[in-house]
């Protein structure tokens, strides 16, 4: 089974960023199953209401600074949840603050990636991330 069938759940409050990310995932062939949430609460709600969704393999992409609930708190909750903790969580955020990097890894994020400011790098990062997601063995959530 190929990872082209997995669903990417993205929590990103900046719609500009979200669109750019989505476009680049699409360009890399991962655009079919992208679900956008505009903050942390929405992301958590998505997983709690998941029964209606057919897919069972997810990658969660989290921004850190978001209204209502930030990405670090979402990460904390996901990794404390016996069912959801198997899901790969990738922090994708503008800040490269060492404290945040440490904190996210302490809470068990699977990767921490900084959004590059130059668009060429940005494109290349999403392209690499897509290649990475494609080769991941992702456990299904049931």
């Amino acid at each position: 089974m190929s990872n082209y069938d997995i669903m990417i759940v993205m929590a990103e409050d900046d719609h500009g960023h979200a669109s750019l990310i989505e476009r680049n995932f699409k360009a890399a062939g991962l655009g079919k199953n992208i679900y956008r949430c505009s903050d942390g609460i929405e992301a958590l709600e998505f997983f709690s209401d998941m029964q209606e969704i057919a897919a069972r393999k997810f990658v969660l992409i989290l921004d850190i600074k978001m209204p209502r609930m930030n990405g670090i708190d979402v990460l904390k909750k996901i990794k404390a949840d016996s069912r959801l903790k198997k899901m790969p969580v990738i922090m994708f955020t503008t800040t490269d603050d060492e404290k945040d990097v440490q904190l996210c890894h302490n809470y068990g994020c699977n990767a921490y990636i900084t959004k590059p400011m130059e668009y060429e790098s940005f494109v290349s990062v999403i392209s690499s991330l897509s290649s990475y997601i494609k080769i991941l063995k992702i456990p299904s959530i049931n």
Binding site: H17, L20, T94, D96, D97, K115, F122
Partner: protein, 526 residues
Amino acid sequence: MNKNIAESKNNRLKTDIDYKAIFDNSAAGIAQVSLDGKFLKVNDYFSKITGYSAKELLGLSFVDITHPDDIEKDVEFVEKLVSGQIKKYSMHKRYIKKNKKHVWINLTGSLVLNKDKSPAFFIAVIEDISEYKQKEIELHESEERYRDLVELSPLAIAVHIKGLFQYMNGACLKMFKAQSIDEVKNLRLVDFITRNDRRIVTRSMSFAEKNISRGRLLETRIIDFSGEEIPVLFVESKIYFQGKSATLVIFNDISAKKRNEAEQKILIDQLTEKNEELERIVYISSHDMRSPLINIEGWSKHLSEQLRVVTDFLNEETVKKQMNDDLEEIVKKEIPLGLNYINLSVAKMAGLLNGLLDVSRTGQIKMRVQRIDMNELIEKVLDSMKYQINTSGVKVSVADLHSCCGDANMINQIFTNLIDNSMKYRSDRRDLRLSISSKISDGYVLYTVRDNGKGIPESKFNSIFDLFNKIDPYSDGLGLGLSIVKKMVSRHGGDVFVSSREGSYTKFVIRLPLSDKNIPAGGNNE
């Protein structure tokens, strides 16, 4: 009867012998003196004290060998003896010895009477008390010295007996806002102590009185006559005061220290707050300010791409003919121009932002201090700049460098920035020559980086280390290199100095510690 007389004579004879023995062997000087003051008979010890032989003394009067200042008093006593007012007298007086030096003696004079009660002669018994007198003089001087010392002391000093004030020096009167000692005499010390501390002070006072000579150092507050409380350090010590057992107490006014502590605390609080604020700014810079940039950058690039598609389309002959010229102007010139400006501004803003973060994080990076082989480090730095050095014909000469102590990454950055500056600001009239050398001075190594470049005007020597301040405003770069150098050097507890002559040379001297002893723990944080 005869027998009685014989017995009595015998007894008298025996007694005479005893007197002679006492007279001759006494450890006191004894003299028999006539009523007109002449020495009639002296013992050996008297001669020894005065330095005159018995023979010499027999021709002299006691007045002849008495210190002029003591004659009057002695004569007075003698007159009283003769008139029967007193039976004997003692006084301290000085004899002038044969060698003209004076000797302090204790004289006990008495009068021996004839059977008819008329005066017969005097007996003078003298002891040498020079040693005792010397001690007395020294004691007196030392007492006087201490009194002066106490009186002039800037510390408030008081004496109390069983808790009642007996004495205060000038500083103490001033502290208590009292005019004179009379005002405080016999007042209770404890009544001048702040209410809450009275018990503890009382306890400390009885401790000092009963136990050792010095009490514990106590921090308390006194209440002066105006009712104002003054924070003091309080310590007691047992002494003798005017012959009585008393307690000396020192009040050290610490209100200035207290005030400083309070001010310092406020300052620290302010600094902490400012520091937190700065950290917030750094965080905001790293997140909030970058976010819109990503959009501007991303979308303008995306638009450019879309525009290229439209332009290609417009370039097709058939479409072009149908297009309005104005539209073509907009699509082909105005939009690309605008996008170009967006991109340039974004690049510039991103650069500023990253530079700002670099500088601010220089203060936060944890230092890994180790011994650094500078020859190796400089070689590494030059190696990483090999391309620029080779292509622009720079001649670099590096002396055998002393090693120092510090964080290798930071020191690498320091020298990279300096060498980079030399290359950036080289003179266009001659090839760049760069020399690096070192010497040891006072526990530090001084590294000199010297070039023959454009130089820096003296008026800019200070400002070149400021944030975003460029030596040449038209040059590339952000004007952060030297700010970072300065910050990194100061985290090592070192310093950086510049000297230069415009059109001739620039010399930077970096002072770095020779051993890790001189590096502030965890590095200086600004």
